[in-house]
């Protein structure tokens, strides 16, 4: 099949959103029962969030493939053609990545030597770093790496 179908990722995204919402509403209900304060995630919430994240990653991979290769794969070699804006965006993102990297080191040193920094703050900075890194890699793959789509015979020797 030489297609990147968007149906699967779309419904996975929908399911992920529903599960995230369920986890949030579960938290609100528990908070209401506990006098308006929510201390930590419950096992149920962690389970919901885990499956939501699983579906979210599946959806993101699907949409990422569509963005990289298009909905229909055309056999042949596809050479990238980055415009003038792509290197500019890449350099800007690299600067942001370097800034986040430096700041993460500062945050860790503060955490270890001065006073504890909340895990949420550490996670947010590190997550942002990883996200920018992922976008940089995606840009490199999309605009700087050539691609080749091979054609297989319909009745090839491989049984699957």
């Amino acid at each position: 099949m030489y297609r990147n179908d968007a149906t699967g990722p779309f419904f996975a995204l929908l399911l992920a959103a529903a599960l995230y919402l369920s986890a949030y509403l579960d938290g609100r209900r528990i908070a209401a029962m506990g006098g308006g304060y929510e201390d930590a995630l419950t096992v149920g919430q962690i389970g919901l969030i885990t499956f939501a994240t699983l579906f979210l990653i599946y959806a993101l991979i699907g949409f990422f493939s569509i963005w990289l290769e298009g909905e229909e794969l055309r056999p042949g070699r596809h050479l990238p053609s980055p415009g003038a804006a792509v290197p500019l965006v890449a350099v800007l993102l690299a600067v942001i990545e370097a800034a986040l990297g430096g700041f993460f080191v500062r945050l860790m040193l503060h955490h270890l030597t001065v006073e504890p920094v909340s895990a949420a703050a550490q996670g947010a900075v590190f997550g942002a770093m990883m996200l920018v890194g992922a976008v940089l890699l995606a840009i490199y793959k999309k605009y700087y790496l050539g691609d080749e789509v091979l054609v297989e015979e319909e009745h090839s020797e491989v049984p699957w």
């Binding site: 006098g35 930590a40 600067v95 800034a99 430096g102 700041f103 500062r106 955490h111």
Partner: protein, 355 residues
């Protein structure tokens, strides 16, 4: 070579004689365009076949060996008056091209240098340190403290020390001696929103909730001591809590006034149930099979002794709730028996006798 082809003749323009005749590979032709004047020309490739037939192909091309003059100072169609001075420049195609702009290496090196500078700035600059301090637990605590505006309440040293001992005896096993708790299991008290709010903290201690059992056996003085301690240690500076303040928040009499009627007992039981039991047995008593049994329509609850003992001692996944007072156990047992089922209420004396 195609066996039908005899030879290939190459002509330039209208020349009668071919500049090359090709009969065998390689069919490579070198044409020195400097022998031709600048301008339009055409190449004629004539293929002669063995049967005498011919096929001709024309390829027009343009020779540009001599560069045009570039005039700097006067434009086409420009209106001029008096003396006009302009420069005429003629390029040289033979001259080797000079590399324009920066080399790729310089570009990469400067980018790397800029990235290193950015990294170093964010790693060591005082501004970054300030932002990191804001994101630290202490910084968050300051934000929590601000809305309540209660950071300035004086701390009673005697209460603080008493609270420290009570904390070690009652709270440290879960929230840990350093108040950091166990992430994901027992919440930390440093910078906690609940701890910042006296009323919320007091309710959490006396009524429990969110997995924490109720500590309603503590006197108002002990409660004030614990509150004073947890609000002013572990990096917290939320201010002290007086015994009067605790008594006022508890409703004057320390613990809730005893309800006179059965309805009052059932209402209290419902509260105890929601705080201690509903997270497993569900608010409507339907439970979560197979882990947590349903209490609604459960025939086992007909035996009051069974209910009280299960609450007091626990069994399997169910923990003991012996820390609840006799009245609270009687209330919650009455609630699950009379409200969720059609069995009678339970008295405090029954609980006391089984404790």
């Amino acid at each position: 070579m195609n066996p039908k082809v005899e030879r290939i003749e190459v002509y330039v323009d209208e020349g009668k004689e071919p500049i090359r005749v090709l009969t065998e590979p390689p069919f490579e032709v070198e044409l020195d365009t400097r022998t031709l004047p600048d301008g339009a020309h055409r190449l004629r490739i004539v293929t002669v076949f063995k049967d005498g037939s011919r096929e001709e192909r024309e390829i027009p091309f343009e020779v540009d060996n001599l560069p045009d003059a570039f005039v700097d100072g006067i434009d086409e169609g420009q209106r001029v008056r008096g003396k006009v001075r302009f420069n005429v420049r003629v390029g040289d195609y033979e001259k080797p091209k000079e590399a324009a702009g920066v080399s790729a290496w310089l570009y990469v090196l400067s980018t790397v240098l800029v990235l290193i500078l950015v990294w170093v700035f964010f790693a060591v600059s005082p501004t970054a340190e300030k932002v990191a301090a804001q994101m630290a637990v202490g910084g968050a605590k300051a934000e929590v403290e601000a809305p309540g505006g209660e950071g300035g309440a004086p701390v009673n040293e005697a209460l603080f020390n008493q609270g420290k001992e009570l904390y070690a005896a009652n709270c440290a096993s879960c929230h840990q001696a350093d108040g950091k708790g166990l992430p994901g299991v027992f919440p930390g008290l440093a910078g906690s929103q609940v701890v910042a709010d006296v009323k919320a903290a007091l309710e959490r201690i006396t009524k429990g909730g969110n997995g924490m059992p109720a500590f309603n056996q503590l006197s108002p003085e002990e409660l004030a001591a614990i509150l004073t301690y947890i609000r002013n240690d572990f990096g917290n500076h939320f201010g002290g809590v007086s015994v009067d303040e605790v008594q006022k928040l508890l409703g004057g009499g320390g613990q809730a006034a005893a309800p006179a009627a059965d309805e009052g007992l059932l209402a209290e039981g419902e509260q105890v149930y929601l705080q201690n039991c509903a997270s497993c047995h569900q608010p409507d008593g339907s439970g979560m099979a197979p882990m947590f049994p349903a209490l609604k329509g459960n025939a086992n609850l007909k035996d009051a002794k069974f209910v009280i003992e299960r609450i007091l001692k626990g069994k399997g996944a169910m923990p003991s709730f012996a820390q609840l007072s006799d009245r609270q156990i009687a209330a919650v047992a009455s609630f699950v028996r009379a409200k969720l089922n059609d069995f009678g209420p339970v008295s405090e004396d029954e609980v006391k006798s089984l404790r």
